[in-house]
Amino acid sequence: MYKNSAALEELRRSIRDVLENECPIEVVQAHLKSRNYYDAALWRKVAELGWLGLAIDETYDGLGLGIDALAVLYQEVGRSAAPVPVLGTLLAADAISALGDEVQRQHFLPLLISGEVRAAVSDPAQPPVPLVARNDGSVEVSGRWAFVLDGPAADVFLLLVEVNGRTGFLVIERGELNVEHFPITDLTRGLAHVWIEGQLFSKEQVLIAGDFLQAKQALLLHAAIAVTADSVGGTEAVFESTIEYLKIREQFGRPIGSFQALKHRAADHKAALVGAMALYEDVVLRAALGQATQPEVLEAKALAVSTYSEVGRDCIQLHGGVGFTWDFRPHIFVKRALLNAVLFGTIAQNLDASVWELAA
């Protein structure tokens, strides 16, 4: 981890500068029109700047930083609604680091860091698909993995499987399986269903060297913090742009931001955002120290995603007519917020998990 918060702030500054230049709202809007699964030019930039290797061990040419550095990246990506599949790729890198053997790590990690390969990981909380191990050392696979985040843009998939009682991920190239894009309104990210029917794969393609339970906990923590970071970043962005609009839009001869009915809603949103941010920053700090517990992370996520949804939806309303148009930005963030609210567990599921553990 970064022991030094000044260094983290420097990282944030540099990521924000790049995204403000390379991914202003016009770029996001052009992406929506393109119907591409991701912005290839931006992806190249992200890779060139080494962001994909922030948390990967230095042995594999990463920077060896911790979850606090990754959280900065996710927060800034959320802030600019950047159409790049960072979470799928970085979760894959995390899974390969934790569960792969040395050969697998040597092979995959540099490909992921360089951005040459984009990856997607099936939900580690779902039950694994059982594989049949054959005498010739191959495995036979039949199964389906639903709603794989960043699947549409992925070249490589990590799919949760079980072989001989051990759980791990099968690593498959896109050409070797069936991928069906599941269209969602958030066009800055994508989901896919993937399936395989009775195909044979080499055993070397299964990552089962590490301790799965431990790896699963770490992956879910990583995913939850990523969604939390994306949410606070997105809330800040949509809220700030709405406040700017309230200051310039005039009706009845004065800025609409001078009307108390709007001011009070804005103040409530600010108070909610500050609260969600405080909890997020605390769990990131604790996670970087290896001290974060599941209930506290899930609570932070629940608070952040519900704040994002609630603030975001009112930002459409606060904009009035233009908020209803494709050309103004609130809808882009609201669509991201609504996806965040169901990624890696719904708010209700996250709160259930956290309260049951608090009560235990």
């Binding site: 406040i243 309230l246 200051k247 004065r254 800025p255 931001g257 001078s258 009307f259 108390q260 709007l262 001011k263 009070h264 804005a266 103040a267 409530d268 600010k270 108070a271 500050v274 609260g275 969600a276 405080a278 909890l279 920053e281 605390d282 506290e296 609570e299 932070a300 629940a302 608070l303 519900s306 708010i347 209700a348 996250n350 709160l351 259930d352 956290s354 309260v355 049951w356 608090l358 009560a359």
Partner: protein, 409 residues
């Protein structure tokens, strides 16, 4: 009530002598609290009358005084300990953990009076009044709000006319906490009705509550208790020597009074709320915890509680690092709004979660704080935070204009 007091043994503790090491300081506080806080005092104070309440408050302050914990934040020259904010945070944490009584009858005496007199009082005023406030002998109240001057405090109309060596006061104050028990009052009154700005015509006085012409009436609240009083003035004379600062400078001085406690009181209350969350969950295993909706509501409230707790710590840290700024006023408004709303929502959640039992009418615990476990009373009492000390609506105005920079109407 005094049976509670008589049971206590007189062991000698000295947390202040251990102040150099924070862990030792905390440990000594803890043993002192364990030996001093009467077990089950809240249960025994259930349904207590106001005489018993005042007696218990005075007894608790006398215990605090023995170890100099009543006013540890005061300067040494005035019998305080000049304790750092970090020490005061530890005291608040340990008081919360020990479920110690809060000396709320003395809030004005211990915080607002010194903030006012150290900043603006004359040497004679400090000499005369601080000692009595510090040792709990004299209780102080605040005379700021009026029926026509609540959120818009500066429009207050209680008049003080300078005649010879006295000011003659006529008018009415309201929402004076514990005004019916007070010996003295920090009073704001209008001395120049013709001032160009309403803030410019206000002066600040020390008022002896036993002066002829004063009528004090307790205000019965929605809980049935009376924590506040309204005070009427009919030709009440205040000697000119009791003017604090210069005539018509009262508004500025009032700002110092109002920022007196720097978030420590809310900090202590949130620590107590955090413990209430634990207790309430532990007692709900077979009841509302089994209900999907209520369990999830609790989870979200718990997340909000943690976030407010983090924010107030952040504010105190900022105050400690930069005492002159006085803990980012912007953050203070955000914390006040989040805290008051959380308390109101959580206490109502418990009423609903407990069904008909949550509505059980029971005698209040006078001086028992915000989370006495009597659900309906705790809920009704929580409006004290959403309305007083700057209502939620005033906080929203401050946030909108000073934090977000939205234009004034």
């Amino acid at each position: 009530m005094n049976t509670l007091v008589d049971e206590r043994s007189d062991v000698q503790f000295a947390p202040m002598r251990k102040r150099e090491n924070l862990d030792d300081f905390r440990a000594e506080l803890r043993v002192w609290l364990a030996a001093t806080v009467p077990p089950g005092w809240q249960e025994k104070m259930k349904g207590a009358d106001t005489t018993q309440y005042v007696a218990f408050q005075r007894w608790w302050v006398s215990e605090l005084l023995k170890v100099n914990l009543a006013t540890p934040h005061w300067p040494r020259d005035w019998g305080g300990e000049e304790l750092s904010l970090r020490h005061q945070i530890i005291i608040a944490e340990e008081m919360a953990k020990a479920c110690a009584p809060d000396p709320d009858l003395f809030t004005i005496s211990f915080y607002h009076l010194p903030a006012t007199l150290f900043g603006y009082g004359s040497p004679e005023q400090r000499e005369r009044y601080l000692e009595g406030a510090k040792n709990g002998r004299e209780v102080w109240c605040q005379g700021f709000s009026e029926p026509g001057a609540g959120s818009d405090l500066a429009s207050l109309r209680t008049k003080a006319e300078h005649k010879g060596d006295v000011y003659i006061v006529n008018g009415q104050k309201i929402w004076s906490s514990y005004g019916m028990y007070a010996d003295y009052c920090l009073l704001l009154a209008r001395t120049n009705p013709a001032a160009p700005k309403k803030q410019a015509g206000i002066s600040y006085f020390i008022l002896d509550m036993k002066t002829p012409g004063i009528t004090i009436r307790p205000i019965k609240q929605i809980t049935g208790e009376a924590d506040f009083a309204e005070v009427f003035f009919d030709n009440v004379e205040i000697p000119v020597s009791n003017l604090i600062g210069a005539e018509n400078e009262g508004w500025k001085i009032a700002q110092a009074t109002l920022s007196a406690e720097r978030g420590l009181i809310v900090f202590g209350l949130i620590e107590r709320l955090a413990l209430a969350f634990e207790r309430d969950l532990a007692s709900a295993k077979d009841t509302w915890l089994q209900d999907d909706q209520l369990r999830r509501e609790y989870g979200m409230l718990h997340a909000r509680m943690r976030s407010v707790r983090l924010l107030i710590r952040q504010m105190l840290r900022e105050t400690e690092e930069n005492p002159e700024v006085g803990g980012a006023a912007a953050l203070a408004a955000l914390i006040k709004l989040n805290w008051a709303t959380l308390l109101n929502d959580y206490t109502l959640f418990l009423v609903r979660a407990e069904g008909i039992g949550g509505l059980h009418a029971q005698p209040s615990v006078l001086g028992g704080g915000q989370n006495t476990g009597i659900r309906i009373n705790d809920f009704l009492k929580s409006y004290g935070w959403t309305i007083s000390g700057g209502s939620n609506e005033i906080m929203r105005n401050i946030i909108a204009e000073r934090v977000l920079g939205l234009p004034k109407a």
